[in-house]
Each structure stands twice: as structure tokens, then as C-alpha cells.
């Protein structure tokens, strides 16, 4: 059995998809040249695949292109799988907080690899480059660079200092901003905070916000709802500060401080300054 894998250059999630593809059969890697145009990319992928299985990365684009492939072929598509066994898959629901075992009723498998469910492949592949005709396909017309105001982006930060309902107000984030600045990190928040209008949605970490993978995630006054955990479970280490010792967040934490964040966060900043002289 042969399998075609869609890869994007220099993309970690593509190397993870490659690992999944290698477990399914003999791999042919393809990449697409030219402006992003999901329907045209999918058509090129369909043509290149012949009757083979198709694997993509579990990125926004990977899931989008595979959904176009599935619509073009009228076949089922299993997004964000963590395992494939014959015609059965295990796939993520709820941003990974729940798994579904499912059977694919088709003679080919169309899947994307859930982010960070597979190790990146070390195989050096020579990807076949496809250059699809655009033929009026919907395509990117313009690119707007972000206005980050010189700040480190949430997705790239090595340290994220994140606040939840326990922060209490928009002003309460000043202490988190201070700590984040001392650590060259970024400030994040939970969904409760953006819904309350205390922070912009661009700061939201979670299933419907940004998914982060810093070296350290500091969760301040965050209860640990599945919505939030889906966005921060990629962190290497998690430090939780919460005055409720029963908070769910502690079950996901490597380090815990049980107490009032309004006292502890400024104290950490003060201690850091002291340590640095």
C-alpha cells in the first residue's frame, strides 16, 4: 500500500505527518508550489495520489486542504488522528481532551496527523513539487503583516504568563505584564478573560484561541477547563498559581503555588529583580 503525504517546507507538523505516513506504507511526499489556493492544491493532490491514501499535517492548512480533497472525492476524512489501525482511527475531539475511535467506510484513507501526537520524522524526503493551475480558484490576494508593537508573539514566546478569571479585572493584568517583561515572555489569558473584554482575543490561549508550546507556562488564577488545557498542553513545564487547592489546573501542573496570585505574582517579580541585583 502506498501513501501520499502533503508537506510544507520547514514545517514541524509536516514532519510529524510524515512519521504517521511512514507507518502506513511506502511514502511519496508532495509539496505544492505557488500561492495558497486550497481547492487547487487539493485537486493537484488528488491527481498526484491516484488511488493512494493521503496524509496531511494537522495544521489549519493541512486540515483545510484534506477537507477539500474529501469533498472533491466524496470520501470520509478523519481530522487530527493520533493512531491509524487498518480502517480504524483514533482521532481527537475537543482539541484533544477527548478521543474518538472510528471506522472509515471507504477503500482509501484520508487523514491528518494530530499536532504533537507523533514524533517528527528524521527521514530526508525528496518531495515532488506540484504546480497546480489556479483556474479561478479562491486564492490569497494580499498578505498583511501583524502589528505586534515589537512584542514577542504568544506562539513564539519561551515563557507565557497567563491569567484567568482569578485575575479579576483588566487592571489586574499589570502584574502579569510586569513578570512577562522580566522573563522576555508574552502574556496570555483564558477564554473567560476575553469574553469579559479584559484582554483582546489575540491573547487567548485555548481550543478556540492560540495553541502555545513555551518552555514554561505560568497559569495564574486559571481553573483548568478543557477549553484552556487544549491550548497550553504543548508547554514543556506548567506552573500553576491558584488559591483553590482543588483547581483542575493542578492536575496538569509540574509546579504549584497555592495562594493569592495578587500577592505571589508581584513577589516573584520583586524576587527576580533582587536575584539579578
Amino acid at each position: 500500500m502506498s501513501v501520499v503525504v502533503l508537506v510544507e517546507p520547514r514545517d514541524e507538523l509536516s514532519l510529524q505527518a510524515l512519521t504517521l505516513a511512514e507507518s502506513l506504507g511506502e511514502v511519496r511526499a508532495v509539496q505544492v508550489d505557488g500561492p495558497y489556493a486550497p481547492s487547487a492544491w487539493a485537486a493537484a493532490l488528488v491527481e498526484a495520489a491516484g488511488g493512494d491514501d493521503i496524509v496531511g499535517p494537522g495544521s489549519d492548512r493541512g486540515n483545510e486542504v484534506l477537507a477539500h480533497v474529501a469533498a472533491q472525492l466524496a470520501l470520509p476524512f478523519a481530522a487530527n488522528v493520533t493512531e491509524v489501525r487498518g480502517d480504524e482511527v483514533t482521532r481527537q475531539r475537543w482539541g484533544g481532551s477527548l478521543l474518538e475511535e472510528a471506522r472509515i467506510h471507504a477503500d482509501r484513507r484520508l487523514v491528518t496527523a494530530a499536532p504533537f501526537a507523533f514524533a517528527a520524522s528524521n527521514t530526508v524526503v525528496q518531495a515532488q513539487v506540484l504546480s497546480p493551475a489556479l483556474d479561478g480558484a479562491v486564492t490569497v490576494a494580499e498578505h498583511v503583516a501583524p502589528d505586534t508593537g515589537g512584542k514577542i508573539s504568544l506562539a513564539d514566546a519561551k515563557v507565557v504568563v497567563s491569567g484567568g478569571r482569578g485575575v479579576g479585572s483588566a487592571d489586574g493584568f499589570a502584574a502579569l505584564e510586569e513578570l512577562a517583561a522580566l522573563l522576555d515572555g508574552a502574556v496570555g489569558c483564558s477564554r473567560v478573560v476575553t469574553s469579559a473584554g479584559w484582554r483582546p482575543h489575540t491573547d487567548q490561549v485555548g481550543q478556540t484561541g492560540t495553541k502555545v508550546s513555551p518552555d514554561l507556562y505560568i497559569a495564574c488564577g486559571i481553573s483548568g477547563a478543557t477549553q484552556h488545557i487544549a491550548g497550553c498542553k504543548g508547554a514543556k513545564k506548567l506552573l500553576a498559581i491558584n488559591d483553590d487547592p482543588e483547581a483542575t489546573i493542578f492536575a496538569h501542573a509540574d509546579y504549584a503555588v497555592i495562594g493569592n496570585l495578587h500577592e505571589i505574582v508581584p513577589a516573584i517579580s520583586a524576587e527576580l529583580r533582587k536575584a539579578r541585583g
Binding site: 477537507a67 475511535e101 467506510h105 503583516a145 501583524p146 477564554r191 477547563a225 527576580l272
Partner: protein, 245 residues
């Protein structure tokens, strides 16, 4: 402008997933329900467009009888009426798309059809795209910005390096993400008005699933035992140890 918004009733899950004994669903006895966050922004955006330009917002769902509650919530946000495809079972993405397409065809024409980028629960990332193909319409996904004017939609999609902008002619299908706007809190009069708005309930039969759910599994806990740090000095010690201080 006639805008159709697709929504799905999902439980508000909190911190821990508990399954029913048959492992086919989340135990929802003690849970509230809502629509997926992306979709709430979709409804809000549609209502804003119609408030500014005139027209009608219709909401459509496929779900159990109780999903009428979510349709009323959408109408409290400002949608004018609702269509409810009633089925207590869970449908796969392909079957869902087919049922939605049939309902859309019975109500055409729409200038804009708005989905959430993916549902909070199943996360299939494909229903909107499948519907667009069946209707022969262009589709842009993951919108964080939308401007509708002169029969066209300017669609902004967030990517790692900023925003990609697409420009499509209407009618079109779009799928949106939370962050597109900050949805309003419905007022009490708006909620009362919503109770009087029409819901067209249509029973539907689920076909066989092409992606057949066998069972749900709660992933094994991370099994972490957090190290308790007594004070700020101990925290700084850890920060130094991790090399981030």
C-alpha cells in the same frame, strides 16, 4: 443581504470529561449547553452586517429537540428565524453536510453562508467546505476579519506571519473563528422577542456513517504530581533551574 448561520449545540464541559456507560457520548446530566464559540461569533457578525445593510439572518442546526434552546439564543443575539433539522443521533460530517445542503436548497438564495471553522466537540474541520462544494460556491475558512460590500466579501485569515486576505464574490460560504468580534450579551427584551420568533422544525433520518464512531475514550490523565513551591523565592529558584529567569 440574506445570511444563513450554521450552529451546533454542544455541552459546556468544564474541567473533566465523563462518558456515558455506552461510551458513545459525554455524560451531560450536570452540564449546560451552548453553541461552539466560533459559531457565536458567526451569528454576531451576520447580525451586525444585516443591522448595517438590511436583510435577514436565518440560523440552521441539525440536532436533538433540545437544540431549540440554542436556536433561541441565536435569535436573542438578533437572528430573525430558525430552521431545526431534528435528530437525536450524532451524524458524521458527510451526512451532516448532505442534510444541511438539502435545507439550504429549500431556502435559497443566500448571499452568505456562515459556519464555525470547526465544532467544539467533533472538530471535523470539513462540514462548511463540503456544503460549499455541493452548492458550487467559493469557500474561505478560519476568518478573523470580514467585510461585505458591493457583492463581495473581503476575508481575513490569521496565519503565523500575519493575515492572508481573500476577496470572493457573493454568494459564498465562509467559516469563522472566535476573535472575529466580541459577541453581545443579549438583553432581556431581546430574549423575550426570541421566544416569539419562528422555528421551523423538520424531522430528519440519519443515514449510515462513512466515518463511523465506535466509541469515545477519555485520554489517560497526564498523571502529574505537581511540586508545591512555598514562596516567590522557590519560584525564582525553579525559573533559574529551567533557564528562563
Amino acid at each position: 443581504m440574506r445570511i444563513l448561520c450554521l450552529v451546533k449545540r454542544v455541552p459546556i464541559t468544564g474541567g473533566k470529561m465523563v462518558l456515558t456507560a455506552d461510551e458513545q457520548a459525554i455524560e451531560t446530566k450536570h452540564l449546560g449547553f451552548t453553541i461552539s464559540p466560533h459559531e457565536e461569533c458567526g451569528v454576531e457578525e451576520a447580525v451586525r452586517i444585516v443591522e448595517a445593510q438590511g436583510g435577514e439572518v436565518v440560523v440552521l442546526t441539525l440536532g436533538p429537540p433540545e437544540a431549540e434552546e440554542q436556536l433561541r439564543e441565536c435569535m436573542a443575539l438578533g437572528a430573525d428565524r430558525a430552521i431545526h433539522l431534528v435528530s437525536g443521533e450524532e451524524w458524521d460530517a458527510q451526512a451532516t453536510a448532505s442534510a444541511l445542503v438539502e435545507a439550504v436548497r429549500s431556502e435559497e438564495p443566500f448571499d452568505l453562508i456562515v459556519f464555525g471553522n470547526e465544532s467544539a466537540d467533533a472538530g471535523n474541520y470539513q462540514v462548511g467546505i463540503r456544503v460549499a462544494y455541493a452548492l458550487g460556491l467559493p469557500v474561505v475558512t478560519g476568518l478573523k476579519g470580514l467585510t461585505v460590500a458591493d457583492g463581495r466579501a473581503r476575508c481575513e485569515q490569521e496565519v503565523a506571519t500575519g493575515r492572508d486576505v481573500y476577496d470572493v464574490a457573493l454568494p459564498a460560504v465562509v467559516t469563522v473563528k472566535e476573535g472575529l468580534n466580541l459577541p453581545r450579551y443579549p438583553s432581556v427584551p431581546a430574549k423575550l422577542r426570541a421566544n416569539r420568533k419562528p422555528v421551523d422544525a423538520r424531522p430528519v433520518e440519519r443515514p449510515a456513517s462513512k466515518l463511523e464512531k465506535l466509541r469515545l475514550v477519555v485520554p489517560e490523565g497526564v498523571g502529574k504530581q505537581a511540586e508545591v513551591l512555598a514562596d516567590a523565592a522557590a519560584v525564582v529558584g525553579v525559573l533559574q533551574q529551567l533557564g528562563v529567569a
